[in-house]
Amino acid sequence: MWNELAGGALIGIAAAILWLGIGRIGGISGVVANLFLLRQGHRSWSLYFFIGLLVAYPLYVYFVGTPDMQMTSNKMILAVAGILVGMGTYIGNGCTSGHGVCGNGRLSVRSMVATCTFMAFGMLTVLIMNNITPSFANTLGSIK
């Protein structure tokens, strides 16, 4: 609980620094789109932000320890999910950071609708995969 609160606070602080410092919304799907050639003119801040994200990992490992990371090894599921995340965040202009943190923090109704939608579909997807097709659950690293 405390780690989650502190981690969330750090995410909020990072988004605040980006907004108050250079007037940019800290949306990662935007950063990805900027970086990989789809949107010209926003590339440099996105690149520095991306480098920062990567640098955080060894810092965390050095000062705190190796973080837990358990994920499905089913390559088909990884590929399909990746395509859906890539398409969805591009079409919907945001993900958990741009809509979920910054948009909701701005009290944007559009972002609230987006957040409720992706949360609902995420929950539904987990429900279906874990319960209606229980054989999936093992390969997916279900919590059960």
Binding site: E4, L38, A81, V126, L140
Partner: protein, 143 residues
């Protein structure tokens, strides 16, 4: 300090802090994220705190920015201009939600996890970039 330098340092620092927050909160662990989304099963609600804390802090910063003419190191605030709730928004958020639920990775944690050196992460990232392009060329460029 020179604005040019601050325009590099600001997003770099924000990226590091953002990444540390994702790691500390456990958002980078797909199994934990799927546990959070499993509200009808063995729900693990702790990740709710991540969103709440982050939103509150950003909301304060955003309110503060309404009193500022411009950001500290840049000419203008790039305020998001879209407000409409349309099929494109809903369809995009729905597709993202399905992909997020399938593996438990959203874009930030996916990028960070490149550093774990796991090949499986690269499959997800490459698929994500392909998804970006499929959307770009089929549905049209992001606004």
């Amino acid at each position: 300090m020179n604005h040019k330098i601050m325009k590099m340092i600001t997003p770099l620092a924000a990226g590091i802090i953002f990444g540390l927050g994702l790691l500390l909160s456990g958002m980078t662990n797909p199994m934990k994220v799927r546990g959070f989304l499993d509200i009808f099963g063995e729900w693990q609600p702790a990740l709710m705190a991540v969103m709440v804390a982050a939103i509150i802090i950003f909301a304060v910063a955003y309110a503060l920015s309404n009193k500022m003419k411009q950001p500290l190191f840049h000419g203008i605030f790039h305020r998001p201009s879209l407000t409409q709730i349309d099929a494109r928004l809903i369809a995009g958020a729905a597709l993202f939600g399905i992909g997020w639920g399938m593996v438990g990775l959203c874009p930030g944690p996916a990028l960070l996890n490149i550093m774990t050196g796991q090949e499986d992460i690269l499959i997800f990232i490459l698929a994500l970039l392909a998804g970006n392009r499929i959307a770009h060329f089929s549905v049209g460029p992001a606004k």
